[in-house]
């Protein structure tokens, strides 16, 4: 397993947000976390990258225990987290945003190779490389956050609500991008409110309900179950 979460508990103040979540992600797969607002999807991602400290439980990445480590150490192991709400550097140019994405890359030639590859996937960003990030459209900003994460050549990419606030046409575009990333051999953990998009791209699906895993399994099989469809997927 590339990532393994064992009985993870997270508390914010007095409230329990995650109540013993376990989950496994195989190398090379696309896994989605579904669930309503407040189910604990974003918190799970934030616990993986060390932005919140778990109260109990373990997180293992590639055979190393990572819970309790500071975020920069976790990122260094090859995990990238595309935060909800994009978290761009708004007053820096597109190119500068991407350069900061390659902060950990010490080899300059490798960095420019990665930059070329990223630009070939996102030609719009190459056209707009001199523009400040805040002047991009919502869709372009989302592309930029994903592109910035790819500049770090991650093994595992965590995507938190990449479709948020985007028009339907752009949401389909995001789906294509996620598939493209997977084809390059990157493992993806996708959190989505847009169930259709998530089920479309994911092999494995976990459904969270108020901090516990309510259902999980192969996406194809899960969508066949009437109970799951009605209760959690809204299909």
């Amino acid at each position: 397993m590339l990532l393994e979460i064992k009985d993870l508990w997270v508390r914010y103040g007095g409230a329990e947000v995650l109540k013993g979540i376990s989950c496994e992600i195989e190398e090379g797969s696309v896994v989605t976390l579904l669930g309503a607002n407040g189910a604990g999807k974003s918190t799970t991602l934030r616990a993986i990258t060390g932005l919140v400290t778990p109260a109990a439980g373990e997180i293992w990445f590639d055979g190393k225990r990572i819970d309790g480590q500071p975020p920069q150490k976790i990122v260094e192991l090859g995990i990238r987290h595309v935060l909800e709400g994009r978290a761009l550097f708004p007053y820096m140019s597109v190119l500068e945003n991407l350069k900061v994405g390659a902060y950990l890359q010490k080899d300059r030639t490798k960095m420019s190779d990665t930059l070329k590859r990223v630009f070939s996937h996102f030609p719009r960003l190459e056209e707009r490389q001199g523009q400040q990030a805040r002047t991009l459209s919502g869709g372009e900003q989302q592309m930029l956050t994903i592109a910035r994460a790819l500049m770090g050549n991650p093994r595992l990419l965590l995507l938190d609500e990449p479709s948020l606030g985007l028009a339907p046409k752009l949401i389909r575009e995001i789906g294509k991008i996620v598939r493209g990333i997977h084809e390059q051999g990157v493992t993806v953990l996708l959190v989505e409110q847009n169930t259709r998009l998530a089920l479309d791209v994911a092999h494995t699906c976990y459904v969270l309900e108020t901090g516990v895993v309510a259902a999980c399994g192969i996406t194809q099989e899960l969508v066949k179950s009437d109970l799951v469809r009605r209760a959690y997927l809204g299909l």
Binding site: Q72, V100, R148
Partner: protein, 288 residues
Amino acid sequence: MDITGSDVVQGIINGLCMGGTYILIGLGLTLILGIMNILQFAHGEVYMLGAFTVYLLSVLLGVNLYLAVVISMVTTAIVGLILERVFLRPLKGQFLSYVCVTTGLSLILQTAIMLAFSKGTKQLPSLYKGSFEIAGVFVSRERVVAIVIALLLTLALYTFLKRTKYGLAMTASAQNREGALMQGINPNLMSAMVVAIGSALAAVGGALGGSIFNLDPYMGGLAFMKGITLIVIGGLGSIPGAVVGGLILGIAESLLALFFGSQMGIILPLVLVIVFLIVRPKGLFGHD
């Protein structure tokens, strides 16, 4: 007394010169505030410490003045690093403890310097003796040197932030803390760097201030206030804002003092701050 045109020109040059020292203290404050989200209340004392280090080296030990300034930059940066590691980092996010500790620190530094150096007015040697005449106005060379040094250091800082990997990482950390964390940027390294750089710049500011005006252990308090004022005028976190804010503040003080007396020269810029806070709270170059 009549105020002539040459008085006004003289006033502007003095103002630019004061502005230069304000810029050097303001840059550190604005960067530290942007990246660490804390106001470094002892930053004025770091400025004072930098000035006294130059005094110790150049006046008491006879080291060349410019070499003394460079040494003071390094030692003051090291002092900054120690302050960051021992006081600022452990208190991050605890606003009230932070204010108490840094305020206390500034009092301790003032008293320590007062005890270490006997009372009495102290001044640093002139940066460059003599004066020259342009269009009937006598301009002292040391003031021009002070302005040039301040602007060159600002340019160096700007280039560092724009062109180097660590500079970009610092800018990024100021614009989105979590976004920067997720690129693998170590926030502790960033805060150490920003305090070291800010302290080194403040040391030069202290040296320039101390060679043109006098040195005393309490010089940091006023300098700190000027730093805050120029941030309000120029806009938080903006380097061009700090430069323009510092120059406006320096010139305004100097000209207002010329026309209305030196007391007004100190008070009226604070009125400017109030006006800015009401009309344009983000400052001239600041972000929302």
